[in-house]
Structure formats: C-alpha cells, structure tokens
C-alpha cells in the first residue's frame, strides 16, 4: 500500500470546505505493523477511510499493489472504534457475513466461522448474540469478522479506545498474536502513546489542521515488550514531546482564533 502526496478536503467546493489531510506520504510494507498517532480530529480516521476505499481523496494518489484505490475491497478490512457488529445476527453469523455476501454455502460458512472464532479465543460464543458479550469480546468478534475475509491489510480505527486499561492490555497481546499468525499488515490508529509503544514497528506522528505526518519513528524492539524497560521509556518520552508540541500549537491557534473573533 502506498500513499503519495494524499490530501482530503471534506465538503470540497462548499462554504463548509475543511482540509482534513495534506501531503501524506506513507508506504505500508507487507506484514508491517504501522501505528498512526495523533490528537483527536487530526485526520487519522480520514486517512484510514481513504486507504479502505470508503472515501475518495481530493489530492494525490493511493495505490494498492500498483493499482489505484477506487472502491472498498475485502482485502483491506476495517475495524471500527464503536461496536459495528450486526445486532440481529449471532456471533458466528456476524463473523461469516462477508462469506455470505460472496455466496458461500452455510456449512462452509459455519466451518470458517468456527475456525476464526477459535483463533480469537471465542470458540464457545458462536451462537450468542452481540449484546450478550462484553466490550472486549465484541471487539474480538469484530477482529474475527475481518480475519474471516483473509485480508492482507487490517485497518484498525482506535479499536480498543472504549475498553478499560486491563482489557486493553490483554487485547494488545491478543492482537500481536493474531497479527503474527495471519501475516497481514496492520495500520492501527490511536491517540494513546502507550498503545503505540506496545504495538508498533513504526509510529507516524500526526499534526493537525490539516493532518500531516510530522515524523516517523521506527521501533526496533522485540515483542513482547516490557513497558517499563529503558528503551520503552525513552520512546514514550520522545513521542510525548512530539505530541506535546502539537497540542500546544493547536491550543495557541485556537486562542488566536478566539481573540480574532
């Protein structure tokens, strides 16, 4: 996946036009774990939507294995922050939804659902309904649903933001395992520095208004990582500093705007 000079202006050509992204250059290698880190509203979700093909960019180009991204594809699965499970379907029907869209037979779908649910540790939950599950389990089902399509890129938009700290840590470990055995690349959006430190091969720090990639930090630490090791502390410090500048700048800008009014 490759993004060249990508820009996105929401509501382009109207009075409410709003530049969310500018000059994004980003390459995602097969099997890589990339984290997009930045304050809320800086355009991280927007970039993910563009990569998924759910929205069209207003500038630059996005290519996937050399081809322009024009429409969504099961090869690039997106996992959302809020629950996006279909409440009227059972867990296994949710997981095999994409296979049903493809027209696969019910026995095939059941078998496939069983297989992915095992990989996310929810073998027993297949016939439950989403509202009977905890938040963490629901997100695991969402991951399973994405995996069932055998994607080569997993796009995750703050998937664990609504979970408590303990559950989130568990989910991060779980995600690393899933990522390892699926071999897919992951683009993971978060505003949590700790999450970036725990997961990333590479962290892209965003600036806001419009969203740009301010700096890319490579992380060459073995997993599982001890969050209190000196290397992790150093990395956390560096990312904190990068984000702090950004937040300071945004605040100063807002104050300036307030005075102008």
């Amino acid at each position: 996946m490759s993004c060249r000079d990508v820009g996105k202006i929401w509501a382009a050509g109207t009075s409410r036009a709003h530049e969310a992204l500018a000059n994004i250059d980003l390459d995602i290698e097969p099997g890589e774990f990339v984290v997009l880190l930045g304050p809320s509203g800086c355009g991280k979700s927007t970039l993910l939507y563009l990569i998924a093909g759910l929205e069209q960019q207003t500038g630059g180009s996005l290519t996937y294995f050399g081809e322009q991204v024009k429409a969504p594809s099961p090869d690039r699965s997106l996992i959302f922050q809020e629950t996006s499970l279909f409440p009227w379907l059972s867990v296994w029907e949710n997981v095999s939804f994409g296979l049903q869209i493809r027209g696969e037979s019910e026995p095939d779908r059941r078998a496939a659902a069983k297989d992915v649910l095992k990989r996310v540790g929810l073998t027993e939950a297949g016939s439950k309904r989403p509202d009977e599950l905890s938040g963490g389990m629901r997100q695991r089902v969402a991951v399973a649903r994405a995996l069932a399509m055998r994607p080569r890129v997993l796009l995750m938009d703050e998937p664990f933001a609504a979970l408590d700290v303990q559950t989130r840590q568990k989910m991060q470990d779980f995600l690393i395992d899933v990522w390892r055995d699926s071999g897919a690349s992951v683009v993971f959006v978060t505003h949590h520095i700790d999450e970036a430190v725990a997961l990333a091969d590479r962290v892209c720090v965003f600036t806001s208004r419009p969203g740009r990639i301010k700096e890319t930090v490579k992380v060459d630490l073995p997993r599982p990582r001890d969050p209190f090791s000196p290397e992790c502390e150093a990395l956390r410090k560096r990312l904190t500093q990068l984000l702090k500048d950004e937040v300071d700048r945004a605040f100063a800008e807002q104050e300036g705007m307030a005075e102008a009014v």
Binding site: L54, P74, G98
Partner: protein
C-alpha cells in the same frame, strides 16, 4: 433489624424469598414456568386496576351520584349481555329471504361484529406497513422514485384521514374495502416518511462494514438497512394501532358496513347508554389485545431488540 435477620435460619433452600415483594407467588416446592411467572402478575395488576375503576363507578351509582340512565355502571351494561347482543345481529342483513329470528346466537353475533372490525384493522395495518416500507426503501434506493413521489407524500401526510372518508366511499362504496382503505391512508404517508428517516439514521459503520466486505447496493439494503430499520418501523406501527382502530370505527359509523362503529352509531341514535358503554368496554379490550399481540410479534420477529422498561422501572 439486621440482628433479627441474622438470628433467623438461613434462606438457602428458598432463595427466591429474598427477592422482595415482586417475586411471583410460588407454591411450596413448585415454581411456575418462566413465561407464566412474568405473565401472571401483569394480568393480576390489570384486573386490580380495572376493578378499582369499576368499583368506583359502582360506588358512585350506589350513593346515587351516577344516573343509571346516562352512566349505567358495569353490572348494568355487562349484565344484560343477551339483550345488548341483539343489536350486533347485523350479519343477517346481507342475506335476503332469511327470517329475522334465524340469526346467530348472541355470542356469535358479537363475535362476528368484533372479528369483522378487527380484520379491517389488521389487514389495513399490514397493507400500510408493506406499502410504506416498500416505497420508503425505493425512495432511498432510486433517486428517480424520490423525485417523483416524495413531494407528494410529504404534502399529503398532514391531511387528516377523516378528509379521505368521502373518497373512500366514492371509490369503494360499502363493505370492507373503504374501511381498509381508510386505515392504509391514515398510516401510509407517516410511515413512508418514518421509514426514510430511519434509513438515514442507520449506523454508518454497519453500512461501511458491509461495503468493505464487497457487498453490492442491493445486498446492503437487504442484509443491513432493512433489518436495521425494522425495529423503528415496528414501533411506529404500534403507535399507530389506536389510530387505525379509530379510523375503522369512524368508517363503520358512517355506514360503510356492519361493525363496532355501526353499533355505536345505532346506540347513539336510539339513545342507549348501556350499549355505548358495552361497546367502549369491548373496544378497550380489543385495543389491549391487539397491542399485546403486536408486542408478542415484536418479541419474536425482532428478538435482538432489548426491552428498556426494566431499566426505567429501576430509576
């Protein structure tokens, strides 16, 4: 208090006793099956509520405040059942050459009248729901349909269904058709607009999930949008149930055919308060029964929707 309860024997074997005053009556060693345990207290409270109202009425009659000629108490208008039922014996009206005595029994007469009114309501609601759902979805699916029909639908939706009554009679004369037409007209425009609003309110993420999985437009509508809007549409249907009953009674009372509305009109014209209250009791019971039936349907068809009333009661 606390020290007293610790002196008692532990409640281990009969754990439900601790549940408080809401726990259902359980005979020793026998607990009722779950649906009944929920159902029986509800029926009990309904009886208590209606009973209190009736008792108050009877009391007012007893002390002479309620004139039995104008406000006959329940034991009067329910007591003379066979007497009242003869007014329901209208089914024979349609048969030529039948002797006036050869009608159905009082029970049958009431049943025929009630069933024919209820069928009109039921058929009308079903038709309105199917038509409104189809048009609402079509309006969002094809922009042409929207441009052609939405302005008209929006324009007609605030028109009171009563205004359509003459049209119903011009078009369909008497019988079932005009009453059903009235129900459809009364619900159709609102429900179409409600359907569109619900489609627009469907969670974007659900649609986007389907899109990333390669679903076509038709698949997205069939597998995501329609299931997602059904609960909301069903609620609209339930809210309009009483409106549907009203419209049917009005249609019947203007003489489109036999039915409860016609009996009420007869009661009015012959100045028969007992019959009026008898009909009111019947209609109240029917509305209650239909609403209950729809709630049961909702539970079965829309099994994934949670009932929020438990939470509200906890406030």
């Amino acid at each position: 208090m606390a020290s007293v309860s610790t002196d008692r024997t532990p409640v281990g074997g009969t754990g439900t006793v601790a549940g408080g005053q809401d726990s259902p009556p359980a005979l020793a060693g026998y607990t009722l099956p779950e649906p009944l345990r929920e159902f029986l207290p509800k029926v009990g409270w309904t009886l208590v509520s209606v009973g209190t109202f009736a008792a108050l009425w009877e009391f007012l009659w007893f002390i002479g405040w309620a004139d039995p000629k104008l406000l006959p108490p329940p034991h009067v208008f329910l007591g003379a059942f066979a007497d009242q039922a003869k007014f329901f014996n209208t089914a024979q009206r349609w048969a030529i050459g039948v002797s006036p005595d050869a009608g159905p029994t009082p029970w049958q007469a009431v049943l025929i009248t009630v069933v024919s009114s209820a069928m009109r309501v039921f058929i009308g609601i079903t038709l309105a729901a199917i038509l409104a759902l189809s048009l609402g979805v079509a309006i969002r699916y094809w922009i042409v349909v929207e441009r052609l029909t939405l302005p008209t639908v929006t324009l007609l939706s605030p028109v009171s269904p009563i205004a359509w009554l003459p049209v119903a009679i011009f078009l369909f004369g008497i019988g079932n058709a005009p009453a059903i037409f009235m129900v459809v007209i009364a619900l159709f425009f609102h429900m179409t607009i409600a359907t569109i609003n619900h489609i627009d309110g469907v969670n974007r993420n659900l649609i986007n999930v389907a899109r990333t999985m390669g679903a076509t437009k038709a698949q997205i509508y069939r597998r995501v949008i329609i299931p997602a809007i059904l609960p909301g549409v069903f609620v609209i249907l339930r809210l309009n149930l009483f409106g549907a009953w009203m419209v049917v009674l009005i249609a019947e009372s203007t003489g489109v055919g036999y039915g409860l509305g016609q009996v009420i009109m007869l009661a009015r014209n012959t100045f028969n308060p007992s019959l009026v209250f008898f009909c009111i009791a019947l209609i109240g019971f029917l509305g209650f029964a239909t609403d209950w039936a729809m709630r049961m349907t909702q539970k079965r068809v829309l099994y994934w929707v949670n009932d929020p009333s438990g939470v509200l009661r906890g406030l």
